[in-house]
């Protein structure tokens, strides 16, 4: 017994302590519980993994029966295999660094203990998500991280834009979750279980005997869930708005961990997806479309966090591309390297914002290289990593994906390469606008304290060297031999694309700063379309949100409820009254009128009887 349950239990305890008593505790104690609980979780992960190596088969712990009814039997069970191991290390490791960083970043904010309580709660649910041994327990984590995302996006609850963004994130995710739920229902009906081992075991054993359409349906429904959580087309719209939350939240939840849950879930379901080439193709195409679309938007934004948010959407698209072409381990590899460099980009951006007392507009930055050198250095490390410059971490994982894409369909490779160039361009655009040229703002930039720069340093090292954790090799037993042939030419092409993006960015924002203006005005309508994010939010509002709200108010409540149903009810009341007064006429007391009624009544009876009899 490895007591896997302790891993999420530590942060849960931290949540309970800080959530209940945090307001009355001194800050150092809040920090101790918040960071200490995650540290313990991290150490327990190391202990468990050390005890379970080489972890060739999945290790499962069953705790209790959660829901049993009819043919449904779901246990509260945890499981660790190599995929879980990678996720556990990423979640607790990055989570620990971000908790430490937050001590400095949040030092002067109201709601300090509330912030850490939510962050701990997030860790709890995220760990449940990756430890789950069946879909329904995974769904606990899935919904729970969504809840924490909602609470933390809306952390500044006095700001309407923040609470709006939180609500939007929750609701958009719920749309995806319906897909996920339906996927579970069909899985349950098909396999009689939601347990990973049972479902995948049956899928592999029965393979061809299963109805391929059912499998495709399950996979596509699960994918709908994944597009919500992992911000893919068409449900990505909540993630850019999620930047309303404090920056450590953007780094932890909306870059490094939670948003990769969809990628993880699809990779976890690989035995199902392998049975459905159609579903895999859809995964790859959704990923590609998202990658390209978000990258184009990222090139035009001026809010530093929005640039990185679209970058996250785009990079998640990359991961889905990897999954879709069957390179699951490459996709998971990219989860890890992306967690390193994107967490660093956000935390670095947070350090910049911190230095400028809250400024997020790239146009109000510039020349900060000498003023905040540590932040500059670490952001540069993250930038070269994401741009795919060898030998840094992003190069390794991105190459693994692109090579696999080429083996699957060369056009996917080429689209991926163009995206890689755009990625390098927008990241260095942010770097150049922020750190080069002259300072355009009026704050007094200052370097962040050690408690913030230390985690940045660790992440910088990971971003630079993390590519040498050979995740694809480690995961090979799980996903089988999926190695695309190594092709130096293709590698050279993708590296060249990244370098070209950096060079172009240098040209635009350092060498000839008037160029972007000229190009964007030359592009005119196209530029405005991209700058305004293709007006997708506006379209959703006009097509879905407003009709639902206004229609419900005017038609359903105003007409259906008030007029039709209640009209009928009140009408029945009025009818009863008028029948009553009508009946009074019968009892007028006049003998002659009674006689008339008798005659009329008899005639009617005879007529009815005759008609009835005749008709029969």
């Amino acid at each position: 017994m490895q007591h896997l349950w302790l891993i999420p239990a530590f942060p849960l305890a931290g949540f309970l302590v800080n959530g209940i008593a945090g307001r009355r505790l001194p800050k150092p104690l809040v920090n101790t519980f918040a960071v200490g609980s995650v540290l313990l979780a991290f150490l327990w992960v190391l202990k468990v993994l050390a005890g379970l190596q080489p972890l060739e088969a999945a290790y499962t712990e069953r705790y209790f029966t959660w829901i049993q009814s009819g043919f449904v039997n779901v246990g509260f069970d945890f499981m660790v295999d190599r995929l879980t191991a990678v996720m556990l290390l990423v979640v607790t490791g990055i989570g620990l660094l971000i908790h430490i960083y937050s001590i400095g970043y949040m030092a002067h904010e109201d709601g300090y203990s509330r912030f850490f309580a939510y962050l701990n709660l997030f860790m709890f649910f995220m760990l449940v998500l990756v430890l789950a041994a069946n879909y329904l327990v995974l769904f606990i984590g899935w919904e729970g991280v969504g809840l924490c995302s909602y609470l933390l996006i809306g952390f500044y609850y006095l700001k309407k834009s923040a609470t709006d963004a939180g609500k939007k994130a929750f609701v958009v995710n719920r749309v995806g979750d319906l897909g996920f739920s339906l996927g579970m229902f069909v899985t349950m009906l098909t396999f009689g279980s939601l347990d990973f081992a049972t479902v995948f075991g049956k899928a592999q054993a029965e393979g061809a005997a299963l109805n391929p359409q059912t499998i495709t349906l399950i996979c596509l429904l699960l994918l709908v869930g994944a597009t919500g959580k992992s911000a893919q087309v068409p449900l990505y719209v909540w993630l850019p708005d999620a930047m309303e939350g404090p920056t450590p939240v953007s780094a932890l939840i909306h870059a490094a961990t939670m948003v990769t849950a969809g990628v993880y879930m699809v990779a976890r379901s690989a035995p199902l997806y392998n049975l459905s080439p159609t579903a895999l193709e859809v995964v790859a195409i959704v990923g590609l479309i998202t990658a390209v679309m978000a990258a184009t938007i990222g090139m035009t934004q001026y809010d530093i966090k929005k640039v990185f948010a679209y970058s996250t959407v785009s990079q998640l698209g990359y991961m889905f591309l990897g999954l879709g072409v069957g390179a699951y381990s490459a996709g998971v590899f990219h989860i890890m390297t992306h967690a390193f460099f994107k967490a660093l980009l956000f935390l670095g951006a947070g350090s910049v914002i911190h230095a400028l007392s809250g400024e997020q507009d790239l146009r109000m930055m510039g020349g900060l290289r000498s003023k905040i050198p540590v932040t500059f250095t670490v952001l540069l490390a993250a930038a070269v990593a994401i741009a795919g410059v060898p030998p840094f971490s992003g190069f390794h994982s991105k190459d693994a994906i692109l090579l696999a894409a080429h083996a699957h369909a060369p056009w996917m490779f080429w689209v991926g390469v163009v995206t890689a160039a755009m990625t390098a361009f927008y990241v260095f655009r942010a770097i150049f606008l922020c750190f080069f040229g002259t300072y355009r703002g009026d704050a007094h930039p200052h370097e962040s304290p050690l408690v913030m720069t230390l985690p940045l340093g660790v992440l910088a090292l990971l971003s630079l060297a993390g590519g040498y954790f050979n995740v694809p090799h480690y995961l090979a037993p799980l996903f089988g031999g999926e190695h695309a042939p190594h092709d130096e030419t293709l590698v050279a092409i993708s590296v060249a694309a990244g370098l070209a993006g950096i060079g172009l960015s240098w040209l635009f924002y350092v060498a000839a700063p008037s160029l972007p203006e000229r190009i964007s005005s030359a592009l005119g309508g196209v530029y405005r379309l991209v700058y305004n994010k293709y007006f997708v939010d506006e379209a959703y509002d006009a097509l879905i949100v407003h009709p639902l709200r206004d229609g419900s108010r005017a038609l359903l409540w105003g007409v259906m409820d008030a007029r039709i149903v209640d009209g009928a009810v009140n009408g029945a009341g009025a009818l009863a009254r008028s029948i009553g007064s009508g009946l009074r006429m019968w009892q007028s007391g006049y003998i002659r009128r009674y006689a008339a009624w008798v005659v009329l009544g008899s005639a009617a009876l005879v007529a009815v009887a005759a008609f009835w009899g005749g008709a029969r």
Binding site: I67, F71, N134, L158, F185, T198, V569
Partner: protein
């Protein structure tokens, strides 16, 4: 006199005693009622062990002649289906006394007598096994609620009370007519006896007869549920009722309808139930979506919660008419869940009303800043209500939707949209009432919860978590009677697997 009789009769005795207590001592009346209702609650807990020992049968039963001719019996019994509903009613009554502690100052004696009388009525419906007795308790539960709304309600209380009364009476009249018809055919009102006669073919309804009888019962139950489009009395009743009235109405009285469907309609008229399931499911799904959409645009908190009940109860009806073990278990479990979480919502809205004296959402805002714990509990309850895993409603909704998917995937797709919409209306309510800047009127009047308020809210929160994490406390005893209902409906024995057996294929 066995335990069940005591559980049933104690509230009635309490109501009578309350009536003779001095009316110039409201404190005594409150304490007395709290004491009696707590006693009933504790006694009801004692029912668990015997029922769990034999959940599919009437573990405790009383059967005596009440009226010689026509043959009407005092026949009561408790099984796994009624057990938890009895406990729910007894659990909520002391909470209702506590929530009215400061709020009800007018005619305190009558108020508490009605509350105990109401408890008597609803427990009576849940235990009655004689159709006529069932009908009597059905009406008994109606009267106190009518007065609770009509006397202690808000401005339009008379309209709301009369609408509630007439709607329900219209249904009960049809139910009574159907019962008399059955009596004329069978010579008894006794439900187990009737089921026996049906099984042994001593009694059989023709298709047409079965349809009309089913319909008569169905309309009575559907009004109570309420099923779309018979729901329009509910927002008015809730909007005008005092807090305790809203809690009992939403948490218990609505369940009389869904309970009746499972206890009476399905076993007595299995063929008609099967034949009519498609349009009933259509109405249930329409209600899920419709209730949620209309809840979304309500400016008044209580009406918002009332419309959300229409949506939630749609899930219950959907689950019942899937005729699957999973769906039916989920439906019964969802009755309990809705009782806890919607009851809690009405209490919390009531606490806000006592402070700010308004139910309009627009009069609130920024409550989170001035009453953080009240807001926290409200958010937890909202999350329970919208079906977050590890909280109660999730389990019920999951099972209902799984059952719906088993019947037809499209049902789950359509009903599932209600889950999305529930997040929209609840989170929008939370945002408007609890987040944002705090207006002066809220700042000056809204305070956080006091000890008494904690005492009445905390048990509900505990139950939300318990029922979400440990549904196996409840589900096995619910499954057993449901299995028998399904056997009657499908005409075939249901495959029963022991938990251990199934655990292997988890």
């Amino acid at each position: 006199m066995n335990l069940l009789d005591i559980v049933l009769l104690t509230p009635a005795a309490g109501a009578l005693i309350a009536l003779v207590l001095p009316s110039d001592n409201p404190g005594l009346l409150r304490k007395f009622t709290l004491f009696v209702s707590l006693i009933v609650f504790l006694l009801s807990l004692a029912l668990i062990a015997p029922v769990n020992a034999a959940p599919g049968r009437y573990a405790i039963e009383s059967n005596a002649v009440w009226i010689e001719y026509p043959a009407i019996r005092y026949h009561v019994g408790v099984d796994g289906l009624s057990l938890w509903l009895i406990i729910l009613s007894a659990f909520l009554t002391p909470i209702c006394v506590l929530v009215s502690w400061k709020h009800i100052e007018d005619r305190v004696k009558e108020f508490h007598a009605f509350l105990l009388f109401l408890l008597f009525g609803v427990i009576g419906v849940f235990v009655a096994l004689d159709l006529f007795l069932f009908f009597v308790f059905w009406e008994v539960s109606l009267v106190p609620m009518y007065f609770l709304i009509g006397i202690w309600g808000h401005d339009r209380r008379i309209y709301a009370a009369v609408k509630f009364f007439l709607y329900t009476m219209a249904g009960s009249a049809m139910m009574l007519a159907a019962m008399i018809w059955i009596y004329n055919r069978a010579g008894t009102f006794d439900l187990p006896l009737l089921l026996d006669m049906l099984r042994t073919r001593q009694l059989a309804f023709s298709a047409q007869e079965g349809f009309w009888l089913f319909l008569a019962f169905f309309i009575a139950f559907a009004i109570k549920v309420p099923l779309f489009p018979l729901h329009t009395w509910l927002p008015d009743a809730h909007g005008e009722a005092p807090t305790a009235g809203s809690v009992m109405l939403a948490s218990v009285l609505l369940k009389l309808g869904t309970y009746g469907l499972v206890r009476v309609s399905l076993p007595l008229f299995p063929d008609a139930a099967r034949d009519n399931a498609p349009w009933i499911i259509a109405l249930a799904i329409a209600g899920i979506i419709y209730g949620a959409l209309v809840a979304m645009v309500q400016p008044n908190m209580k009406r918002l919660v009332a419309y959300s009940s229409v949506s939630h109860l749609g899930f219950v009806v959907l689950g019942i008419f899937t005729f699957t073990q999973v769906g039916l278990d989920g439906a019964v479990y969802q009755m309990l869940n809705h009782g806890i979480s919607t009851g809690a919502l009405f209490i919390l809205v009531g606490l806000l009303y006592e402070r700010r004296h308004s139910l309009e959402i627009a009069d609130y805002g920024g409550v989170g800043s001035v009453a953080p714990w009240l807001s926290t509990v409200f958010v937890i309850t909202s999350l329970a209500s919208i079906g977050l895993p590890l909280l109660n409603n999730f389990v019920g909704e999951f099972l209902v939707l799984q059952g719906a998917a088993q019947a037809k995937l499209l049902y789950a797709v359509l009903a599932g949209t209600g889950v999305i919409l529930s997040a929209v209306y609840m989170l929008w309510l939370v945002q408007r009432a609890f987040y944002g800047p705090t207006p002066d009127a809220v700042k000056h009047h809204v305070t956080d919860m006091n000890g008494r308020e904690w005492a009445l809210v905390l048990p509900l929160v505990v139950m939300m978590v318990w029922m979400g994490v440990g549904p196996q406390t409840f589900l096995p005893s619910i499954s057993a009677p449901n299995r028998q209902v399904l056997e009657l409906v499908s005409g075939k024995p249901q495959i029963e697997k022991s938990a251990q057996e199934v655990a292997h294929v988890r």
